[in-house]
């Protein structure tokens, strides 16, 4: 029987299965960061247990770390303690690799894993973070988990799970100029809604997906969770394999050839069955901008803020009214007339080298609008930062009046010092526009790196394609 990629990944990891379908899945890679791991390590110690296979662990500090003045350390004592606790736990238990605060390879956990070849096709990958879906770009089964589950995986190398239904999202055709993986992600969420993927594992396929770089594929799988799905994945092809060649933890020599032979099988067979199929035409996708407090509240840059008066469904209408009031927006305002106070280019969605190159291409020779208070460029990792500096991208940003920062989660969730003040409006390349996500009272509009850079130059949203 033809199998989908999801079937193959699932079946190859089932250690044990109960009559009701509850399974123990073997976990190959466990990514760890400072926020959701301390209690798991503590639980392990209290129970007198040892980690099952510590060489499955790759750890980094990212959520709480500051993005400037690294010489001054972490000023917030509580954040500092959380980071130091991770240091101590890794010292005590070990890890395959640890990229601590200030390490030249430190960065956002979902950027660091793939760029070091710690995420390999066919793996099950878990992390105490919902955006673990990112790693599905490498034909992995990648899940975000809770803290008790972090402890469970540390102690048993397995996760208790039940198989999801499968959804194929097919995007055929060629993306227009100025249209990116982020726009595909937002267009998909706009189509199926933030609960559309609930209970499903998503596979992204079609010629537009095959045309994406690994960076773009990671952006897309990263946002699968915002569509309600616990996992998103993409089949292996030459682009996957080329990306992995000669990375730190990628196999070498004979082992490489053997691995590649296996990885090539990680595709959905012709005729594989899916529980649901969604099709999009790439040529019709335009640059997207969210206007509300949920990623599904999205339109294209030529669109307008919706008018709740025109909505019949009372629940939907009041939802839109609440969102517009929080966002300080008036119905029917053209998106291109919305001014921004701050711009954030970063996060595990859009902080990789390709994202910075794309933003820099827009910015080159231009200046930040005077009305924009701050533009933060936060590379996803130390390696991304070094690469960008080797290419001179940082000088383009600095010359434009942007701030070039150290890697970390930064203003994606405002657990460190980078945040919006109440009422401030931000064009952000991150993944969540929930109330208060980037700081209490802050207003977030999700966009691609190109669109964020263009907004920083213009002072308001603008169709990046008109900038030439």
């Amino acid at each position: 029987m033809p199998q989908s990629l999801y079937d193959k990944l699932w079946n190859s990891h089932v250690v044990h299965e109960e009559a009701d379908g509850t399974a123990l899945l073997y976990i190959d890679r466990h990514l760890v960061h400072e926020v959701t791991s301390p209690q798991a390590f503590e639980g392990l110690k209290l129970a007198g247990r040892k980690p099952w296979r510590i060489s499955s662990v790759v750890a980094t500090a990212d959520h709480n770390t500051p993005t400037d003045h690294w010489d001054e350390g972490i000023k917030d004592p509580i954040s500092r303690q959380q980071v130091e606790t991770l240091d101590a736990n890794i010292r005590e238990f070990g890890a395959l690799a640890y990229f601590p605060f200030k390490d030249k390879k430190q960065g956002i956990v979902h950027v660091v894993g793939p760029e070091n070849g710690a995420t390999l096709p066919g793996m099950t990958v878990v992390c105490g973070d919902s955006h673990t879906s990112t790693h599905g770009a490498f034909a992995c089964l990648a899940h975000g988990i809770g803290t008790s589950e972090v402890e469970h995986v540390l102690a048993t190398q397995t996760l208790v799970a039940k198989k999801s239904r499968s959804m194929l999202i097919k995007v055929e055709g060629v993306l227009g100029r100025g249209v990116t993986a982020k726009d595909i992600a937002l267009a998909v969420i706009g189509r199926i809604g933030t609960a559309g993927g609930t209970g499903y594992a998503l596979e992204f396929a079609g010629s537009a997906i095959r045309g994406l770089s690994m960076e773009g594929r990671m952006t897309l799988c990263n946002m699968a969770i915002e569509a309600g799905a616990r996992a998103g994945m993409i089949a292996v092809d030459d682009i996957t394999i080329d990306y992995l060649k000669d990375r730190t933890f990628s196999p070498q020599g004979d082992m490489w050839n053997k691995a590649v032979g296996y990885w090539r099988t990680l595709i959905s067979d012709d005729g594989a069955a899916f529980d649901a199929v969604v099709e999009l035409d790439a040529a019709l996708i335009e640059p997207q901008v969210t206007w509300g407090t949920s990623p599904e509240m999205v339109t294209h840059v030529g669109g307008t803020v919706p008018d709740p008066a025109k909505i019949d469904d009372p629940v939907k209408r009041s939802g839109i009214e609440r969102a517009l009031s929080y966002m300080g927006l008036t119905a029917n305002t053209p998106i291109a007339e919305i001014p921004v106070d701050k711009v954030f280019i970063g996060s595990c969605t859009n902080s990789r080298i390709e994202d910075l190159r794309a933003a820099a291409a827009i910015v080159r020779g231009r200046q930040k609008a005077a009305s924009v208070k701050q533009v933060l460029i936060v590379p996803g990792s130390g390696l991304v930062k070094a690469q960008a500096e080797a290419e001179g991208l940082h000088q383009i940003f600095i010359a434009a009046g942007f701030e070039w920062r150290e890697p970390g989660c930064s203003m994606c969730l405002a657990m460190n010092a980078d945040r919006l003040e109440p009422g401030e409006r931000c064009a952000s390349t991150s993944n969540r526009n929930f109330e208060g996500r980037q700081g209490q009272g802050g207003r977030t509009h999700l966009v691609s790196p190109e669109m964020a850079a263009a907004a920083a130059i213009a002072g308001h949203f603008i169709d990046v394609r008109t900038l030439g």
Binding site: V15, Y26, I78, S148, H152, T156, M255
Partner: protein, 212 residues
Amino acid sequence: MQAFTTLDGLVCPLDRANVDTDAIIPKQFLKSIKRSGFGPNLFDEWRYRDHGEPGMDNSKRPLNPEFVLNFPRYAGAQVLLARENFGCGSSREHAPWALEDYGFRVVIAPSFADIFFNNCFKNGLLPIVLPAQTVDLLFAEAQAKEGYRLAINLADQTIKTPMGLVFGFDITAHRKHCLLNGLDEIGLTLNHADKIKAFEEKRRLEQPWLFA
């Protein structure tokens, strides 16, 4: 995990629907590295008159006397009576940790958010779903009578009121077994340790690059 068998506990009625995890334990407290100690910040924004931050001496903060948890008659409550969709919002396990640390062992509501419901069982907290009319009745009695207690028996799956009324509740056999015996999921999974080892060894042979 602490076992749960029977409880005869004082009831605190929290008469609000859609209580989310951010209300149960606000975001600034997620910086803690402990599983315990969240009790003083349970419902922080409702319980205190000032804005709470980690590291504050909570005993010196001004209490909101209008919040039900602060009524002297509910001091020491172990059963939280709540309305529909309790625990909605994020997946933070800090929410059940805070309830448990405060001293609650049971939460009764007409419905719960999915992830919160699951997280409770991993932490020795028993969430019980009862029909809305039954919850209405319990609210009325708990608000009317000072010192109102409920007797919960997990083995029998029953709740008994002071007047002698008895209500049954549902729980899956697996969860009941874990709670009654104080078994955590890790302990149960480790019963399959041999199978995990065998699986791992086979994998190590077939895909050695995963074990570098």
